[in-house]
């Protein structure tokens, strides 16, 4: 079976084989990391535009590196210095990007569904680089790649996602992907930060991290999104940290082969402590590296294949 999608919107709509295909392709792309000259000719002549309506360092840089290592021309549109500031609509901005000659656009926006709307509107490929609290597919895929590398397979794997599930697109993409590949997922956090009805996604819910920490194989620690918090969702950051923070004490009670993930950027001392980040069980640096591989794979997959003459020999 071969990839047929023009866009990457989320893990919700991907079939399990499509997820595996991205991971396999990403694994092959990792071969370039150990080379002196990190350059493949694959996307020569293609133009990629990054447009981020929300701040980002790692995702944007990661997309840029992925594009450049595959020889695409990469352009970053800075929203603050673009026509957006003159009041240009999202639609017109993106139509312009298409008209200028881009082949693929990676977009991040605070409103869920923006990439979907653009995917339908534009002929070029659209990659969701995070939309509101909805999905962040490339992050989900890089988490899956890291888990697969460290754990081998997903069947029966116990994964805890800890923190602010309500505001987290990373959590949603992780849940969709993990469930499709056969893992057991528990979401953990204060009840005010766990969306009502999340059980419908096939996950278990717990409000007590200490009840679960000793039995999980993977813990994915979410960033407490201080910029998205309304007042009153939890009493204090200090209390949150005490109840849901990943620290040395909690890690002592966890499995010896636990895998610790964090999408970054971390609020050190809040959801995770420095020594937990430095724990040998943490794969936070590998996640960043895998992010480049996954984005290379996604660019390769969405940009390839248009006509009908299959090549034999």
């Amino acid at each position: 079976m071969r990839w047929k999608r023009k866009d990457l919107m989320g893990l919700e709509e991907l079939e399990p084989w499509e997820i595996e295909l991205v991971l396999d392709t990403a694994e092959a792309c990792k071969g370039i990391f150990s080379r002196d000259i990190k350059k493949l000719p694959t996307l020569r002549g293609k133009t990629m535009v990054n447009i981020f309506y929300e701040p980002s360092t790692r995702t944007r840089t990661s997309f840029e590196v992925a594009g450049k290592w595959m020889s695409a021309d990469v352009i970053n549109v800075s929203v603050n210095t673009s026509s957006v500031r003159k009041g240009e609509s999202l639609r017109d901005t993106l139509k312009t990007i298409q008209a200028v000659g881009a082949d693929v656009v990676a977009i991040r926006h605070s409103a869920a569904g923006v990439p979907h709307m653009l995917g339908k509107m534009l002929d070029i490929s659209v990659i969701n680089a995070g939309d509101g609290a909805h999905e962040h597919p490339t992050q989900g895929l890089l988490d899956l790649l890291t888990i697969r590398e460290k754990k081998g397979s997903f069947e029966g794997l116990k994964v805890a996602i800890v923190g602010d599930i309500s505001h987290s697109r990373v959590a949603k993409s992780n849940i969709w992907g993990l469930k499709k590949l056969g893992a057991e997922v528990t979401v953990i956090g204060p009840s005010t930060l766990i969306p009502f009805g999340i059980e419908d996604m096939g996950v278990k819910v717990s409000y007590d991290l200490d009840e679960v920490i000793h039995e999980v194989d993977v813990v994915n620690v979410l960033r407490l999104q201080l910029e998205r918090q309304r007042k009153g969702l939890f009493p204090t950051v200090r209390e949150y940290s005490k109840l849901y923070g990943i620290n040395r004490d909690r890690l002592k009670r966890a499995k010896e082969d636990l895998l610790i993930l964090h999408p970054g950027p971390a609020n050190l001392g809040i959801e995770i402590t420095q020594d937990a980040c430095d724990d040998p069980r943490a794969a936070i640096t590998e996640q960043v590296t895998n992010g480049v591989a996954v984005r290379m794979a996604v660019l390769y997959l969405v940009l390839g294949g248009v006509s009908d003459n299959e090549l034999i020999n």
Binding site: D24, A28, P41, T42, V306, S307
Partner: protein, 184 residues
């Protein structure tokens, strides 16, 4: 074999393949005056087991192992946007430095030469071999680029409508080369 292909003639059986590879192994040793600095790199998919077999033949003759690697050229293709079904990206596994080697690329069928062009790019990105040579099981003609093989198992004149199918026991279970025709 793919279901849309109709088998026409068997042009090489298991014995024929064994003899061809054995001859190529001798030719490689002769041409390179021994196996000093000689390395084999098979092009995925079917070049990989062929390179392995050539290496075993060479070891039998010379009594010494030579390095064998696998090259995946998918990311170096020039037809990424013109083929409907995207090729799967495989891993390149070349666990040695290619700089200074006499590197022999191994593939099953030489046709347009575009695969070899991509493979040359792929190899050169990894280092600077002293010399690159090409060994193929079948040369079917119809080159689109100025590329030729140094070692050929069998030259087979074909028409463009025909397809050469190489089956190897490691991948296909069977061991033969056939000429087939597209059914439709």
């Amino acid at each position: 074999m793919k279901s849309n292909l109709k088998e026409k003639t068997v042009i090489m059986d298991a014995d024929g393949m064994r003899r061809a590879l054995s001859r190529i192994a001798h030719e490689i040793i002769e041409e390179n005056q021994g196996i000093e600095d000689v390395v084999l790199v098979g092009i995925r998919t079917r070049g990989a087991p062929l390179a392995q077999r050539l290496a075993e033949n060479i070891e039998r003759i010379e009594g010494r192992k030579i390095p064998v690697g696998i090259l995946d050229i998918t990311l170096y293709r020039d037809d990424l946007t013109t083929i409907a079904r995207q090729p799967l990206v495989g891993k390149t596994e070349i666990p040695f430095d290619v700089t200074g080697t006499k590197l022999i690329l191994v593939d099953d069928v030489l046709y347009t030469g575009r695969t070899i062009r991509a493979a040359l790019d792929g190899v050169i990105d990894l280092g600077r071999p002293k010399r690159v040579q090409l060994a193929v099981l079948i040369d079917r003609g119809h080159r689109e680029l100025p590329i030729r093989a140094d070692y050929v198992g069998k030259n087979v004149p074909t028409s463009r409508k025909e397809v050469i199918v190489v089956e190897l026991k490691e991948i296909d279970g069977d061991e033969r080369v056939i000429i087939a025709e597209k059914a439709n």
